[in-house]
Subunit: 318 residues, 2 copies
């Protein structure tokens, strides 16, 4: 087992932590919470009986509850890790069973609509502190999780105007113990930042993979064979969970359409440069885009290995 998250806490942050939704993110979070001693007990729940059964086999939580009410009744921290579109229903169903003083948080990739979906259902006396860990892989389900998924990644916490400072601090402490760096911002600003850093990249990756699947001049088998020329990098994020991403686009419509408009405008300008043979314009853009990657590597958000380290398949890194 890796100890790269640092030493585990001497005493737990919470008495009971409950995680709703045991896919990649939820099951990773349960593993991290157990490994780091963040709760005296860590309870998991998933609406799918198969996922509950598999999660018991994987033993990544203290126990897996059989129903939502039982899962949340004694919880001091509840983290919603289901697809964003399921949040309103979960909030409504669990509301009558919440303990006074409980903290409700989530991991959704969109925040303004999550706040709008969850807040109206929550009773007085509980704290809602939305959050979004910017981490993931292209795999889904409880088997795909691992305790260090959030290590050295950012977790964005988006408190509401009336959020309790103590509850915000508790949620931040939780994520820091999972290895994350925590940043606070408003739900609205979060949605703009994620539209450009995550949602639009996923959208255009899904789109080009779709375009490539419908060529007449080029066969599917040629696309696959010669994908090392660039295409395959896009297929990784276009293999992400379809339910999650459907919900992201339906729930961050405004920011996504705004940024997509800019992307398309810029692409039209680039298309024009190609059509009219403006080599200097192309060279200029292609030079500027190099710097941003250097900065991402310098900030520790990326590996500097050539070709994402794929080279290590055949030869050791320099």
């Amino acid at each position: 087992m890796s100890d790269s998250l640092g030493p585990k806490l001497q005493s737990p942050l919470f008495d009971q932590i409950t995680i709703i939704g045991l896919g990649l993110i939820g099951s990773s979070l349960a593993r991290a919470a157990m490994q780091q001693n963040l709760g005296t007990t860590v309870i998991g729940f998933d609406r799918s009986p198969e996922v509950r059964a598999r999660s018991r086999e994987l033993k990544f939580a203290t126990s897996i509850a059989e129903d939502l009410a039982q899962a949340v009744r004694e919880a001091d921290l509840i983290i919603l890790c289901a697809p964003v579109g399921a949040n309103a229903e979960i909030a409504e169903q669990m509301a009558p069973h919440l303990k006074t003083g409980a903290i409700i948080s989530d991991v959704g990739s969109v925040k303004a609509s999550v706040v709008a979906a969850i807040s109206p259902h929550l009773p007085q006396g509980v704290h809602f502190i939305p959050a979004h860990p910017v981490a993931g892989t292209e795999y889904s389900g409880p088997d795909a999780g691992f305790a260090t998924l959030f290590n050295k990644r950012w977790c964005i916490v988006t408190p509401l105007p009336d959020s309790s400072e103590a509850a915000i601090a508790k949620v931040a402490e939780f994520w820091q113990a999972c290895g994350s760096n925590v940043e606070l911002m408003s739900p609205h600003h979060h949605d703009q930042v994620l539209a450009i850093t995550s949602h639009i990249p996923h959208l255009i990756a899904y789109n080009i993979v779709g375009t490539a699947a419908h060529m007449e001049a080029v066969t599917q088998s040629e696309v696959i064979k010669f994908s090392a020329g660039g295409f395959r990098d896009f297929t990784r994020i276009a293999a992400s969970d379809p339910t999650m991403w459907r919900d992201v686009f339906l729930n961050n419509k405004e920011a996504v359409l705004e940024m997509l408009g800019r992307f398309t405008e810029d692409l039209t300008a680039l298309q024009r440069m190609i059509r009219y043979g403006d080599g200097d314009g192309l060279f200029d853009l292609f030079t500027r885009t190099r710097d941003i990657r250097r900065n991402i590597i310098a900030e520790g958000q990326e590996t500097a290995a050539p070709d994402f380290g794929r080279r290590s398949e055949s030869e050791p890194q320099k």
Copy 2:
């Protein structure tokens, strides 16, 4: 040193191999040719005095020539590895010095325009066999090269209607000894295949990185911090060599504009689905795109490690 290219040849394929242009591809090719005993001598040349000096220090060739005429005079195989836009001038300058029976090849990412640029300058009695190894990293220059760059990657050879079968076979043998799988197709078809598998992916990666650099609502530092949500995958290919890519777009204009038209059409349809909340349409596309990645992994053109193996920074792979 890696032995993953297999045993080196008992006797060289060529007496003298000359490589013109000693960047990532040219210097990798020289290293592979030396390691695999593909030529009795391997001569390098680059028009930049700095690159020549550095290449001598790196010792990846038998020797580095001081001028083009001297580099090609005795060569049995000449491979042009300069940016595509430089090919016409190189062909014109080297033409008077070529040995009868010499094979001229190249590594350009576009083929029809390379054929048009080079063919008119070549004298009778030499063989021109264009080729394109589909391999690379985001790094440039003689230091970035390594002998196994082409291992298990495809090399597309695009013979002309009157190409000699013996010369085609010799070039194919050369690439196979560098570890590549060889496929033959026409220059025109090559350009269509690469437009979708490589040129369009690069173009939209350059474009989104450019778009992200000009937001008012989101700062550059936020883009960098939260890039792990998807954006950073695009920055890798948007960090590729600007000169090479300018030349690619100027020289494969027709196929790139055609495929870009389809990409934009599909993106407009996707944008409409988001605007009108067509969740089923989104889910359907996002499900179909998963298969193509599975096939790329099955074909050995990609690693199956989650997150491109970035996870290995903090925890061993499953």
